[in-house]
Symmetry: C2
Subunit: 332 residues, 2 copies
C-alpha cells in the first residue's frame, strides 16, 4: 500500500495543517509564536480553563474541541506524538483566568509525562491544575486504569466543558469529567492501516479481506485479526464487550457515539448505527442521543468505533445538551 | 483492491443506511411507507419547499441538507442511481405548503428525467414547480450547461434555503439559487476509486502513485491521470481552472469550500485549504468564509474538491450566514 495523501513536504504535515486551520477560522489562534500552542482566540474570564493535547492525525481530536462550551486550549504534537511540556505550559498560561486549569487528555505515556511536567511548571507560578485522562478503550486492557483513551473522551469534553461554562469550580469540572469517564466505554475496529507521512508506508498490514477488532487509533494491535464481519455482527460483538465491562439495565438510558476512523464513509457509519440501535432496542436500553460522524480518527484508517455513555442523572443530560461551537463541532 | 466496508447485505446498503439515519434523528422522517421518500419531520407552513434528490453514496449530499434553513425533502436513489419520479412526487406532496416547489439537484440525465416527470405529475395536481440543476464541475465539460453538479451545489442549497426561510416567492428562491450557481465553480481530483457495494470491485483503477484530475463523484474520467502532486500544486492547478472559467478580480470576495471525497483525512483538507488560501491572498482575493469538511463524497474515494463561490452582494453574504440546522450540517 503506497501513501496517497494531499500534502506538501511530509515533515511539514502538522504545521501546514495548523496554518490551514488558523487561516480558515478566527475563533482560534496560537500563542508564543508556536503554531502548536493552540487556543481560543478570546480568553474566557472567570472560568476554569480546560486544556487537552495529543498527537496530530486524529482530527477533530484533539484541537477540534477547542471553542465555546468545550475546551480552551490544546497542545499539538507531531503525528502520533505528544506535545512538549513547554507547549502545554504556554497554552495554559494563555488561557488561565485564575480559576484553575483542568488537563483532560488521553491515557498515553508520553502525554502523561508532559502534562505532569507542565503541571509542575504551573504550580511554580501558583496556577492550580488537576488532571484526568480518557481511558475508554475496553479491549485495550483488562485493567481499566491501563486502557487507552479513544473517541469516548468526547463525552468527557462535553460534560466538563458544560460544567466549566456554567462557572463550576475546578473540583466540579473535574467531577463532571470523572462522571462521564466512569460511564463511558468504547470498542473500535480497523479495516485498513494508516500511514504516517514521514514514514511513508503502513507500520502493519491487513490482508484484502481482513480486519482487526480492538485496534488502537495509532495501530496498536487488537484482540483478533480475521475476515471482515457484517455491521450487525460488529455491533453485536462490540456491544457485548462494552456491556460486559459496564452493565446497562433495561430501562436505563445511554448516548451512542458511532465514530469513523477516517476513510470509512458516513453511509457505513449510519448502517452501523442502525445495527447498534436494533440491539439496544431489543435490550430495552433507551437512547437519549446518537452522535454519528468523525470524532476521533486515525488519518485515512478505515474502521469505526462504538462508544456508549450511560446517562445517570439529569445533570449529565444537561451537560450533553449544552449548545457548543468550535471550528470543528457545532451542536445546537 | 478488495471491498472493505462495514455493511450487511450489499443489496440492503441504501435502506440500512436510511434506517440508521431515521433512528438517529427525529427531525427527519419518510413518507408513503417508502424509506427513500425523505423529508423534514414537521412541514413548514407558508414557505416555498425545496426538494433535492440523487443517488446514495455521496453523504452528506443529498439528504443531509434537509433541515431548518435549507431543504425540505429529498428523493433517495440507490447507489449512484436517481430516485424515481414517484418518489420525488411523494416527497413534494408531503412538504408542499401551497407556495410552490423548487427542484434543486445535480445535472445528471437520470435525475433530470425523473424530476421532470415528477414536475408534470405535480402540475396535474395544480402544484407549481420550478427546476434548477447544479453544474459547477468546471473540468467535466467545456460547455457550462453540460457540466456535472458536484460539491458547489452546497452554495445553491444555502442561498435558496435562506431565501425560502425568509418567505421568498418561488421566483425569488429560484433567483437566489441561480445567482449562487452563476458564481460557483468546482474542480475535484481523486486519488483512489470507490466501490459500489453490489458490484464489489472498483470500476476503474489508479496505480499506486497515480491520481486523476477532474474525476467525477461517480468515477467519471477526468482530464489527466498522473503521479500524485503536492497540495500546493493541486491548489494552483485547480484555482487556475476555476479562475479562467470565472474570473475574480483582486479586491473581490469569495467563499471557499474544501470538500473531502470520503477517505481523505481532515488533516489533508486543511493542508489543501492552506494552499488555496495562500494563492488567494497572493491574488488579493478576499475570503469571506472558508468551509472545510465532507460536503459531497463518493463513499470511500480518496480525493478532494475545491469550490469557489464569488460573493457579489450583501444579499449573498446574508444567505450564506443564515444559521441552519440539519442532522448532518449545523451552522450558527
Amino acid at each position: 500500500m503506497a501513501m496517497k495523501k494531499i500534502i506538501n513536504a511530509p515533515e511539514n504535515y502538522t504545521d501546514d495543517m495548523l496554518r490551514g486551520i488558523y487561516a480558515a477560522n478566527d475563533m482560534v489562534k496560537y500563542v508564543n509564536d508556536d503554531l502548536r500552542c493552540y487556543c481560543i482566540a478570546k480568553k474566557k474570564p472567570d472560568k476554569v480553563a480546560i486544556i487537552t493535547g495529543g498527537g496530530t492525525g486524529h482530527l477533530p481530536l484533539f484541537l477540534g474541541y477547542v471553542g465555546d462550551g468545550m475546551l480552551d486550549g490544546c497542545g499539538v504534537g507531531g503525528v502520533f506524538q505528544s506535545p512538549s511540556a513547554e507547549q502545554i505550559y504556554n497554552v495554559a498560561k494563555a488561557v488561565d483566568s485564575g480559576k484553575g486549569i483542568l488537563f483532560l487528555y488521553g491515557n498515553y505515556t508520553g502525554d502523561i509525562m508532559n502534562f505532569d511536567m507542565a503541571s509542575e511548571m504551573l504550580d511554580m507560578d501558583d496556577i492550580e491544575t488537576k488532571s484526568i485522562v480518557g481511558a475508554d478503550d475496553v479491549l485495550s486492557n483488562a485493567n481499566p486504569d491501563a486502557r487507552r483513551g479513544v473517541a469516548g473522551i468526547f463525552f468527557m469534553y462535553k460534560c466538563a466543558g458544560a460544567r466549566a461554562a456554567w462557572g463550576g469550580s475546578l473540583d466540579e469540572v473535574l467531577a463532571a469529567a470523572q462522571k462521564a469517564k466512569d460511564q463511558t466505554r468504547t470498542v473500535g475496529f480497523a479495516l485498513t492501516p494508516c500511514i504516517i507521512p514521514e514514514v511513508g508506508h503502513p507500520n502493519f498490514t491487513l490482508k484484502d479481506d481482513e480486519m482487526a477488532m480492538g485496534m488502537g487509533i495509532h495501530g496498536e494491535p487488537g484482540v483478533w485479526n480475521g475476515p471482515i464481519r457484517t455491521a450487525d455482527e460488529l455491533a453485536a460483538e462490540s456491544l457485548d464487550s462494552i456491556l460486559k465491562d459496564m452493565p446497562v439495565a433495561a430501562g436505563e438510558e445511554v448516548c451512542v457515539l458511532i465514530n469513523g476512523l477516517g476513510a470509512t464513509s458516513q453511509e457505513e457509519l449510519y448502517i452501523l448505527s442502525g445495527s447498534v440501535r436494533k440491539i439496544l432496542d431489543d435490550k430495552k436500553i433507551r437512547v437519549y442521543r446518537t452522535f454519528v460522524g468523525e470524532y476521533a480518527t486515525s488519518m485515512e484508517m478505515a474502521g469505526a468505533s462504538i462508544s456508549i455513555c450511560r446517562i445517570v442523572d439529569e445533570e449529565m443530560r444537561k451537560e450533553i445538551d449544552l449548545p457548543v461551537h468550535t471550528p470543528f463541532y457545532t451542536q445546537i
